[in-house]
Structures are given as structure tokens and as C-alpha cells.
């Protein structure tokens, strides 16, 4: 099939950026979306033009490195699918496809479709862990975990940190990402001692990094390639309320 691509080109953080139109012909429906971009880039290089920079690594939907706004949808039209797992059979001959980077205050553009997502790491560093220095662990079976809790923890732990939730959010909020980790660790007995410090630390880091607040728009869960549910944010809010109440704060101040 033959496609028209309109791709965001931006040479660096200082450049204003613009959409540039490219024609790509003879695209196989069995190609992945990124392989289609590879084809374009090969052609650009041979023509002496700079290839389109985009992030990607595992190309099997698990590393979370790829992230493209495709026709205005984070990761494109197929639900539960990262851009690298999206295949061209989802498109039709003659389509025009807009491709843009994640756009959010906390994710500044580095070049073309590549953005800086370090803010996510800072949120984890502020509490998204269980303190268990190497060697200190008790025998694994000394703490049973109810299967339902283990399964629910896994569901939240499946987050790949791609940032689609932020890109889709009208407020540029990273709350689904934060809530997924708060939920996973809060559901496990091992996570209880740090439950309150964790949620406060992570939410503070989230706000400091320039993410917007959550207004329960729910766009994040629609685009999340791993199906992290909105209920995680409810759980985060409850934990946050309990933690701040215990600390003696008035929530919201």
C-alpha cells in the first residue's frame, strides 16, 4: 500500500519544529509501524537527508522505549498495543498518517519524535521501591501473599513506563504511572512499612517534575498499552489521604 506521512521534525530542543510530508510506497501489511519508518529512513539517508529520529529498542512491546502519537492517539489506533507492535495491516492504502512525539511539559522534545522521560525515573527514586538491601531478605515462603492480591499487584506492575498516559492526558498528568507503582507495592505485605512515605514521596516528585494534576479524565487508561486500570488512581488517592492525615497535614495544602 501507499501512504502519506506527516511527521514532526524538530532538529533540537531550541528549534520550533514543523510537520513535514513524506510519501512512502509499497508498504507491506506485515510490516510493523516502526519497520515502515525504517523504510522511510533508509530512503532519506540515501537521498542525503537526515533520517527521522525516534526512540525504540525491544520492538516487542515491553521495554517502553517507543512512543509515538499516531493520528492523535498515543501508540496509534489499536488498543493495548505499543507503537512497535502496531502492524500496517491496521491501515489502508492511501491513508495519510500524522506522527508526532509525546507532548507534555514534563517530557521535553530532544529531537524529532524523541522526548526526555527522565521525570519518570525521578518519581520512582522518590519512593517507588521496597527497601530490601541485597542479602537482607527472609526466606521467600515466610510471607504468603493471597493470590488475588498477587494477581492484582502483577496487573499494576505490568506498566512499561512508556508515558502514553501522560501524552494522552489533557493535563499532562503522570498519575496513572505513579498510581500503578503505588498500587503494586501497596497490595503486597512487603510494601506496608513504607506505604505512606512512598505515596507522599512519589506524588511530590510527580508534581515537582512538572506533570499536571489528575482530573479523572480517564484518557490515560484508554491508551495504556498494558491496560493499567483507573482504579489504581483511586487507590493512590486513598493512600495519599491516609498518609497526609497521619502526618497531620491538611490534604490539598
Amino acid at each position: 500500500m501507499n501512504l502519506t506521512l506527516r511527521i514532526w521534525r524538530q532538529s533540537g530542543p531550541e528549534d520550533k519544529g514543523r510537520m513535514v510530508t513524506y510519501q512512502v510506497d509499497d508498504v507491506s501489511p506485515d510490516m510493523s509501524f516502526l519497520e515502515m519508518l525504517d523504510v522511510l529512513n533508509e530512503r532519506l539517508i540515501l537521498a542525503g537527508e537526515e533520517p527521522v529520529a525516534f526512540d525504540h529498542d525491544c520492538r516487542e512491546g515491553i521495554c517502553g522505549m517507543c512512543g509515538l502519537m499516531i493520528n492523535g492517539d498515543a501508540h496509534g489506533p489499536q488498543r493495548g498495543t505499543t507503537a512497535c507492535q502496531l502492524h500496517m495491516r491496521q491501515f489502508s492504502d492511501g491513508d495519510t498518517i500524522d506522527i508526532e512525539p509525546w507532548r507534555a511539559r514534563a517530557f521535553p522534545v530532544i529531537k524529532d519524535l524523541v522526548v526526555n522521560r527522565n521525570a519518570f525515573d525521578k518519581i520512582i527514586a522518590a519512593g517507588g521501591y521496597i527497601t530490601a538491601p541485597t542479602g537482607s531478605a527472609p526466606e521467600a515462603h515466610s510471607v504468603p501473599v493471597a493470590k488475588a492480591n498477587a494477581d492484582a499487584a502483577f496487573e499494576s506492575a505490568a506498566c512499561i513506563g512508556c508515558g502514553a498516559c501522560v501524552a494522552a492526558c489533557p493535563n499532562g498528568s503522570g498519575m496513572l504511572f505513579t498510581a500503578a507503582k503505588v498500587t503494586q507495592l501497596g497490595l503486597l505485605p512487603q510494601g506496608q512499612p513504607e506505604r505512606h512515605t512512598r505515596v507522599i514521596g512519589m506524588v511530590d516528585a510527580h508534581d515537582e517534575a512538572g506533570f499536571g494534576g489528575c482530573t479523572n479524565a480517564g484518557e490515560c487508561t484508554v491508551v495504556c498499552p498494558k491496560g493499567i486500570p483507573l482504579t489504581t488512581i483511586g487507590r493512590l488517592n486513598r493512600d495519599y489521604l491516609a498518609a497526609t492525615a497521619k502526618r497531620g497535614d491538611t490534604p490539598g495544602t
Partner: protein, 645 residues
């Protein structure tokens, strides 16, 4: 000109002798310690943030060392360990099915086709039980039974259920556990994290590894970084084949640059071809996707009995199907180790009985399991893998059998290390897939995660202390001649690549190199093929340095330039792999030489002549490497013809 010369033998002098069960304990006791106040004065560089590197950096940070960590991805959480699906082995014997440290040790030595070191493998089996405890404490959500205890399953090459798992995303969950521990240390200021940085050279001062040259992939800035010890945890080199299950960015540059600086490269020809990957669909293919080996617990592998049978698989009656693994290997059936399953698939396809549009595929069929257990049970076990398969192929594996074919997955070879995981360059330690240590000629399923975490959490933090106890070493900075030279080499190489301005892309060369390697140094190797491959690699490498085209400059993000540097190193590695494969006149594990097989087509080892590790020393570009042999002795597991029949 000869392809190589032979030098003095090499030996591991670090492993204690005596009863194998006591060696690790004795090594830990004999190793020197560093007192906590002195640790703060010492810096360790860790390159790579996968299971091995992430775990090591976190643990060293916890212990009080100053750690500088580097990864090429935008976050340490994205290292390719994240893609491991199936599970992690541990000798917990929670199933009471006869497992033990000794059995895991035995299975791993046998699974490696008697080409690994007994001392190392025994330590791995011992430490395996601590890994599970550690990960559970971190909140890794392993699969559990209704009673709240951990669930386990079987994996290829074992008859016990010792594999712990988190659905089909075990690697992700273990890596996030290590990543979170690492982020905690970053937050505490003990680890300095440098994401989007690529190591391009090792700095050796007075014979000791003292630093690295890195390129900031965003700004293009090249800097020299120094430490008292350098740890490489940069993964394997499967991408020399272009198409593999590795992430696109995985590369050999860190280890290859260290090799050029004096670290021996061991057993480069030992590559693992994984039997269950989604077949290639066309020339545009940029990578291959694994379907976890755990699927072989419930899926049955078959091809039609008759050549060229193009019927819909559902229309082929039972008695016209050949469940060839169950037929040839009745005792292990579909759960034979990876090397054996891969070669069997190749053989039936070579006979013309392959399936799918390219005829390079076999069926992995779940119809029996769905009938027996119900669709819901299969969904719970493998749902995410089935969805992934459908997204890629457009076919529904609940209705139509999957089509699978072997693909390059893992490299058992790597930099040579002693029992302390130290390379032949003092102060340079190598952990995880980047070293050669524990898997011999074939790695068993669910053992890569075990080795990465064993090295990172438990082995390296003990052994590196023994080296650092003699530190801190004399301060070195960027003005040291060795640092100036290493930095200039990096800059020159980049300028040379940019100046070629030829007429072919990096990817076109990489793809062609991969085809040569797959054809001649893949599942089956022969003397004629390997000699041909060496000539072709050399010719193609010359072409690369004359015709590659890289657009843009070195002063910012330039993904073509990054790739070009990596492919240039793959060219050199590829030649060494072929030479290693050519010199090893036997078949063992993943290394199958057509000239050396039993009458029924199994690998024929030659223990009299080849029971050694081949450690290669770099001399100069274009000059033959020097082979150093480390003899392998087997006191506990006696080499036998490996049989899974």
C-alpha cells in the same frame, strides 16, 4: 596467512579446590574486605543496567561504594533483560519433586554439554535460592498458588518444576525490582546514573582498567570517566546476526573494545538459537520475536508427515502429522533443550516439510491443551503471548496452530573471566550475558535471569571487594596519556565514519553481515562454509569502510552514527566467531559442525581434544588472534553423550 596462532594455556586461579559445596563459602572467606569507611573513597563504573548491571550497581551503592552507572537507553529500566518471558530457575525444591542444589548444578553442566566450569555452575545453583528470596522481598509479583505460596513450572532440559515466573513477563518484573533498588540508590546519591550514554572505549592505566570513554548520545559530547574498577554488564552479541530476539540497540561494542584492550574473548562461537520464535515475514523484518519456551509445556510441535502438504493444519488428520520431538525424544518430548529442538526444526524444514508461506516454520499446536484444560486455563497461563502472536501475525492461535521457527536468542560466549568474574585485565569485571562463564555450549531455559542476578546481587559485590581492598588506586584524570589516547581513538573513529559519505546505509551492511552469519555460522556449521564466511566478512567489511553513508554530524543525537560504530565492531567479532567455530572440530551444544555428528544426527563431542574453553587474545587489526586454552575438568558430573531420548 594462518587464521590464528596458539599461545600459553590459561587457568582460573581464583576458585578454591576441595569439596565443591564449600568452594564459594571459602572464596568469600578468603577474599579481602573493604571497611565501610574506605568504601566511600572508592568508585566503581558499571556499564549496562540489565539484571546483572542493575543489581550490581544497586548492591554496590547499598554497600557504600560510589557508583557511576551507564546505559544507552533513555532509562535504566529499559535494558533488554526486560524482555525475558519465561522464568527463573532456583533450587528451592518447593515441589518436593527431587530437586536440589546438586540437581540444578548437574542439569546445568549437562545442559551446557560439558563445556562449562563446575565450580562456577555449582555456585550459581547455590545462590539461586537467595535470588528468589531477594526478589520476593523487593515486591516482585511472582505467580502464586491459592494458598499464597509461590508457583513454579517446568522448563526445557529439566524434569523438575523449578522455574519461578510472573506470567510471561518474568524478566520485566525482575528487572523492575533491580531498577527500583537502583533508583533508590540514585535518590540517596550513592549512584550517579548516566542514561543515553554509550561506552566507546576502555581506559587501561598501568595494566589496570581505570575508566571508560563515553559519548553522550544527546549532545554528542565525548568524556573520559574514571574509577577504581570497571564492571561490564553490557549483554550479549546476538545482533551480529542482524535478525535476533535481542533489542535493536543491543551491541558488542563495550566488550569488543575491552577485548581490543587486552581482555580475552571466550568461546565466541557458542550462540543459542531459540526454537520458538515467530518466523520471518519479509525483507523488511527488523527483529524477531520470541514465543516463550514455557509454551512447550502445553503446546505440541508438529509438521505434516508428507513433504509439500499445503492443507490447512486443522484439515490434516492426526495420523498424517509428525509430532517429531515426541517421536525422536520420548522421555523429554516437547521439552528437550533449546539446541536440540532448534536443530530438529531445521531438519524437518530441510526435508521440505516446513509450513507457512516461506516453508521455514513448524506448528506449535495448543488444540489438545485447550481440549484438556479449557480455553480459560490456557488464557490465564499464556494470554499475553497469544495476543502478541496475533498482533504480529494476524492469526488467532486459539484457532490455528502457531507457526514458529528458530532464531538467534542468546550468546553463551563472552569475555573470559575467572571465578571472581574478573577478566584478563585486572580491575575489569564482566557479569551477566557479557561474560562466558556458566552456560557452557548451551544455556538451559530460565537460567539467564538466574545468572544475571546471581552475578549482580551476590557474586560480584563479594569478589570486587577483594580487588578494591588494594585501593583506592592512584588518581587518574583526562590528561593521563592513556586517557588522551583512548579519547582520541574514539573521536578519530567517529570522524572516519562520518567522512566516508558513501552510497549504502548502515542497516544494509548489517543485514548482509547477518545473512552471512546465519547461513554459515548459525544452526549448522561446516569447514567450507566457515572459510567462505570469513572471506565474505572481510570483503564486506572493506566495503563498509568505503561505502557506508551517515547523514548528519557528531554534535547531537545521530542514530545512524551510533549504529555505524556498533556494526563496525560486529564485523570484527563476526570474523572471530567464525574462526572459533572453525577451530572447534567437534559439535557441542549450540555449536553444531556438520562433520561431527552421531549416526542419528546428534552432536558428537570430542572430549579428548576439545574439553577446553577457547580464550582469544586480540593482537592487532587484521592480525591473527592468539588462542589460549583453559582445560575443563569434571570431578562431579562425568561427561556422557547428552541424551534426552
Amino acid at each position: 596467512m594462518d587464521l590464528f596462532t596458539e599461545g600459553d594455556p590459561i587457568a582460573d586461579t581464583r576458585a578454591p579446590d576441595g569439596p565443591i559445596e564449600t568452594r564459594w563459602e571459602r572464596r568469600r572467606f578468603e577474599a579481602k574486605l573493604v571497611n565501610p569507611a574506605n568504601r566511600r573513597k572508592m568508585t566503581v563504573i558499571v556499564v549496562g543496567t540489565g539484571l546483572a548491571g542493575g543489581a550490581a550497581a544497586a548492591t554496590l551503592g547499598e554497600q557504600g561504594y560510589r557508583v557511576k552507572s551507564y546505559c544507552y537507553q533513555d532509562s535504566p529500566r529499559r535494558a533488554h533483560s526486560i524482555a525475558a518471558q519465561g522464568g527463573i530457575n532456583a533450587a528451592k525444591n518447593y515441589r518436593n519433586d527431587g530437586d536440589s542444589v546438586h540437581r540444578l548444578f548437574y542439569d546445568t553442566v549437562k545442559g551446557g554439554d560439558f563445556r562449562s566450569r563446575e565450580s562456577n555452575v555449582h555456585r550459581l545453583a547455590e545462590v539461586s535460592v537467595n535470588i528468589i528470596d531477594q526478589c520476593v522481598a523487593q515486591g516482585v509479583p511472582f505467580a502464586r498458588e491459592y494458598g499464597g505460596l509461590l508457583d513454579t513450572r517446568s522448563f526445557g532440559g529439566a524434569q523438575v518444576q523449578r522455574t519461578f515466573y510472573a506470567r510471561g513477563q518474568t524478566g520485566q518484573q525482575l528487572l523492575l525490582g533491580a531498577y527500583q533498588a537502583l533508583e533508590r540508590q540514585i535518590g540517596l546519591g550513592n549512584v550517579e546514573m548516566n542514561a543515553r550514554h554509550e561506552m566507546l572505549e576502555l581506559i587501561v592505566v598501568d595494566g589496570k582498567a581505570r575508566g571508560i570513554v563515553v559519548r553522550d548520545m544527546v549532545t554528542g559530547e565525548i568524556t573520559t570517566e574514571f574509577a577504581d574498577a570497571v564492571v561490564l554488564a553490557s549483554g550479549g552479541y546476538g545482533n551480529v546476526f542482524y535478525l535476533s530476539t535481542n533489542a535493536k540497540g543491543c551491541n558488542v561494542t563495550a566488550t569488543w573494545r575491552a577485548h581490543r584492550k587486552g581482555a580475552y574473548f571466550a568461546n565466541p562461537c557458542y550462540t543459542q538459537i531459540h526454537p520458538t520464535c515467530i518466523p520471518v515475514s519479509g525483507d523488511h523484518q527488523s527483529k524477531l520475536t520470541l514465543m516463550s519456551e514455557s509454551l512447550r509445556n502445553d503446546g505440541r510441535v508438529w509438521v505434516p508427515k508428507v513433504k509439500g502438504d499445503d492443507r490447512n493444519p486443522r484439515d490434516i488428520p492426526e495420523d498424517e502429522r509428525d509430532y517429531y520431538l515426541e517421536r525422536i525424544y520420548p522421555s523429554f518430548g516437547n521439552l528437550v533443550p533449546r539446541d536440540i529442538a532448534s536443530r530438529a526444526a531445521k531438519n524437518v524444514c530441510d526435508e521440505g516439510r516446513g509450513v507457512g508461506p516461506t516453508k521455514l516454520g513448524v506448528y506449535l499446536d495448543f488444540a489438545d491443551a485447550i481440549n484438556r484444560l479449557g480455553r480459560k486455563a490456557i488464557e490465564a497461563k499464556y494470554g499475553n503471548l497469544f495476543e502478541m502472536y496475533e498482533r504480529i501475525t494476524g492469526e488467532d492461535p486459539y484457532e490455528v496452530p502457531m507457526r514458529i521457527y528458530p532464531a538467534v536468542h542468546y550468546t553463551m560466549g563472552g569475555l573470559w573471566v575467572d571465578y571472581d568474574l574478573q577478566s584478563t585485565i585486572p580491575g575489569l569485571f564482566v557479569i551477566g550475558e557479557a561474560n562466558f562463564s556458566d552456560h557452557g555450549a548451551n544455556r538451559l531455559g530460565a537460567s539467564a535471569l538466574m545468572q544475571g542476578l546471581a552475578d549482580g546481587y551476590f557474586v560480584l559485590p563479594n569478589t570486587v571487594a577483594n580487588y578494591l581492598a588494594d585501593g583506592p588506586f592512584e588518581k587518574v584524570d583526562g590528561s593521563h596519556p592513556a586517557a588522551v589516547e583512548a579519547r582520541r581513538d574514539v573521536e578519530d573513529r567517529i570522524q572516519r565514519l562520518l567522512a566516508i559519505n558513501g552510497d549504502r546505509t548502515v542497516d544494509s551492511f548489517h543485514r548482509e553481515l547477518g545473512q552471512i552469519m546465519w547461513e554459515h555460522c548459525g544452526m549448522e556449521r561446516s569447514e567450507a562454509g566457515l572459510r567462505k564466511a570469513i572471506d565474505e566478512i572481510r570483503a564486506l567489511r572493506d566495503q563498509f569502510w568505503q561505502r557506508v553513508r551517515i547523514v548528519g554530524d557528531a554534535d547531537g543525537l545521530n542514530q545512524s552514527l551510533e549504529k555505524a560504530g556498533r556494526v563496525a565492531d560486529f564485523f570484527e567479532l563476526a570474523e572471530l566467531m567464525c574462526i572459533d567455530a572453525l577451530h572447534r572440530e567437534e559439535s557441542c551444544g549450540g555449536h553444531f559442525r556438520a562433520e561431527h555428528q552421531t549416526p542419528d544426527g546428534e552432536a558428537q563431542r570430542d572430549d579428548d581434544n576439545f574439553a577446553y574453553v577457547a580464550a582469544w587474545e586480540f593482537t592487532a587489526t587484521g592480525q591473527p588472534s592468539v588462542l589460549h586454552k583453559e582445560d575443563l575438568t569434571f570431578e562431579y558430573v562425568h561427561p556422557t553423550q547428552r541424551s534426552y531420548k
